[in-house]
Subunit: 501 residues, 2 copies
């Protein structure tokens, strides 16, 4: 290995470890941190962000990177080291464009505005949150100007989550799906064979749910020796190495759906990180390549697996043994129908597979309007409610159930939402490819044999870490570029059957 | 404020926040970290240590410090800023006097010798640990030479934990106490009125202990909005700011003593940190001034308060309502006697108030002998056992229960033990001063009125942070230098009564 490359790797390892330490600050903030600690925590995050940013963007990093690129000229373009330099070049260029003051201002504001958002949602007080959001939009725009973009200001921000993706492509993706989704939602509402979800409503004590969800995520392949599950208001997955990948969930004692599928969703994310190659650890090649690809993993386990007929047959006996009283009379078909009920609803994270992408679509449109200043923050609640009415036919009665429901904007995650829809589409596309490759996949799932599917994902997605761009990876794994075709086919087949359309 | 001072403060704030972030890594490791994460966690800690050390010892820190000292020449020597510079000068000189090679050799050897110690204790094999301890003593001596000292090599090391303290003073402190403690221990063993601790042995489910201990520490003044209590194998207190001070405890389902007094002990530490002035936050003046003064806070709440007759009357109804079956027949006097049982025992961390300081005394004597080469490491077990026999009248059957019981020496914590005794002495001295100032303190405690005592500690100890040297602080708070007199009086009065001596 060249001396430059070796020094660069040492430096990157140090920076990776600092980044993972910052992630622990966030995990703690959302799980166990006492409420009085919010202000000091924002200082910790800002300090870590500042130090990491300074070290990453230092002249020395740039020199080592340039020298390493020079040393590796002419080598196999597919070699890990060459790819690592390409990934690093992308991240380095992105981060060196931002002045340190802006970076730490964003970090500090992010931590504070999160706390403001929590309070605002609790008290249903959008006006209390508005100035923080206004500042966040402003900080995002300032960030985008430093980063630069060709077509749309949105591109500069989206690239952080979905490298190489463009606002225009997202707009096309939604244009493909929107009429179909609105139409399907209406057809389901008019169905003569409606779904009854009372089987999964009842009395489900939280302590048993904790045990049960851990049992389920362990069964599908989440390694609890290298992770743990805790409770959080907004379920998430985070990791501090491939050997410490944590998930969170939330429990509704009267509705089984929530924790079971939130846990499976986060476990899908977690298994991606746990499957990152050990030799990529603390290099810039480790972990997930993009949020869209990440979301494809979580959605695949949550939906294509978790909300299938075969999984219903597998999981129901476990659910019955945890909650014998509530589930005694339920059969697998009734459970399957119940967990696939489609209803236009106010809350994105509780939305079914059909309406979910409409929630994302409206967020995408609103973000574009906020960033192009065609919509003012103060008018956001009304714009939100108007779109809810247009796309889903329902209107939130409170902002807490409307524009204040998501944590994202308070965390500075602007232009992040489309990655959820990319993930949904890709989950169906990957499932289609995996099903062709794995013999009798449904029967295997029914028997609780999840390893073949996990191994297929390990081999076709996880093992590459960040080595390939999302578009390259998708083509490698499925033989074609990302397409909305498989997701629409999947919805069509599944819901025509359930709702007798 | 001078420009130098202002820049220095910004730099120190950043370094403080990094240090607090490292503390979160440790807290997590000892509470919630999954077992597979140990290796990656050591990388996080090493990365944080490296970055923090480099930033603290950088030329720029030294320049800003020297310039600030120059700028502040002639100012009130009691001003916060002047005192802050003195504290910083002490820490900076200490950290920069050691050559980088020695620092990294100590770090390497520390992590190695800890692993060796764990194995040696498990297999009861002192010979396996001896070479590592030998090297640790040698490294400590080399460190002391670089740090410098006037009278005794011990002083250079002790200064890291108890700034300004001298071996000679510690020797005098123990010389005062030793004959008295040995005699008192013997008299208690021969007492015709022995203590029965069966009232606090029984069946105490852990879930109720969790609720109960939290209720107790809240009652005495620990602010759970700015802290939390978790479970850990070895109870500790840590903080990531004055607004996030966390404690841990451990539960023995058959012995109530353990969790109740571990929680009160750690809450004593925690209230000291929570009482650090907000304006000192993230400066080098925040937090506790020394380990001895810190220990005085934990011991005062654990012993002078927690193991008093008046507290027994206050707390017993709460204990009874948590454990009605086990405690139905117990009255406050029986409880009071049970939690004050004195028995010579092999293990320091389980020792009672009377014998505890004898455990420390022998460690101090042995450390002095090792550092002055009057005792060879190979002869340490025999020396240990001889002192146990002489001071406590019992002899360990294994080195695991003897010389190998403490982690300290394997971690390079040489000259650390005396701070425990300083804390014990000071707890009685502070209690004496507080009792004179607070009217009817015992009656107040019996009624659950802890605020007057906490306020007295806030006013006389906590509010100064690290502003004064421990010796100065003790004189300010109690009117005289540290003395063993109050501790001996306290033991004498209490145990003459309990054991009818």
């Amino acid at each position: 290995m060249s001396d430059n490359l070796s020094q660069l790797k040492t430096r990157m390892a140090l920076i990776s470890r600092l980044g993972q330490t910052s992630a622990l600050l966030d995990w703690d903030q959302q799980t166990y941190m006492p409420k009085g600690a919010a202000e000091s925590r924002s200082e910790h995050s800002a300090a870590m962000r500042q130090v990491t940013h300074e070290m990453f963007t230092a002249q020395e990093t740039g020199n080592l990177l340039a020298n390493s690129e020079n040393d590796l000229k002419g080598q196999d373009p597919d070699a890990d080291d060459v790819r690592m330099l390409a990934v690093l070049r992308h991240d380095f260029d992105r981060e060196t464009k931002l002045p340190a003051e802006l970076v730490s201002e964003i970090a500090r504001h992010t931590s504070l505005s999160q706390e403001i958002w929590i309070k605002a949602r609790k008290t249903n007080d959008f006006a209390y949150f508005a100035p923080a959001l206004d500042k966040m939009i402003d900080l995002s725009l300032r960030q985008a100007e430093y980063l630069g973009y060709e077509d749309h200001v949105y591109d500069a921000l989206l690239d952080a989550y979905e490298i190489g993706a463009k606002q225009r492509d997202v707009a096309v993706m939604f244009a493909d799906m929107k009429p179909y989704l609105v139409e399907l939602t209406r057809a389901i509402a008019d169905s003569s064979n409606p779904v009854d979800d009372s089987p999964i409503r009842g009395n489900f004590p939280v302590d048993q749910q904790k045990q049960l969800t851990l049992q389920i995520v362990s069964a599908i392949g989440y390694d609890t020796d290298r992770g743990r599950q805790d409770e959080a208001a907004h379920p998430f997955c985070t990791n501090f190495s491939r050997d410490d990948v944590r998930i969170t969930t939330r429990y509704n004692p009267e509705f089984l759906n929530q924790a079971v599928y939130a846990s499976m969703h986060e476990a899908g994310h977690a298994m991606y990180e746990q499957g990152s190659p050990p030799e990529y650890e603390a290099t810039f090649l480790s972990g997930g390549v993009s949020l869209g690809v990440h979301e494809s993993q979580s959605r695949l386990w949550e939906n294509q697996v978790g909300r299938s007929r075969s999984f219903s047959k597998f999981v129901l006996p476990k659910l019955k043994s945890a909650f014998p009283a509530s589930l005694a009379e339920v059969d697998p078909e009734a459970y399957y129908r119940a967990v696939n009920k489609v209803t236009p609803s106010l809350i994105r994270v509780e939305a079914d597979e059909v309406t979910y992408n409409l929630h994302i679509l409206m967020r995408f449109e609103l973000e574009c309007d906020l960033l192009t200043k065609t919509l003012a923050v103060k008018d956001l609640p009304e714009a939100w409610n108007a779109k809810m009415t247009e796309y889903l036919g329902i209107r939130p009665e409170t902002d807490a159930d409307g524009v204040l429901q998501d944590i994202h904007w308070s965390c500075g995650l602007v232009a992040y939402f489309p990655t959820y829809s990319i993930g949904n589409l890709l989950s169906a596309q990957l499932w289609n490819a995996a099903s062709k490759s794995i013999l009798d996949i449904d029967e295997k799932i029914e028997r609780g044999e999840f390893a073949p599917l996990l191994n297929w994902l390990r081999e076709n997605v996880h093992k590459y870490g960040r080595k390939y761009l999302p578009g390259e990876l998708i083509k490698k794994a499925t033989g074609e570029p990302l397409s909305s075709k498989y997701y629409m086919e999947y919805l069509n087949k599944k819901y025509s059957d359930i709702y007798s359309l």
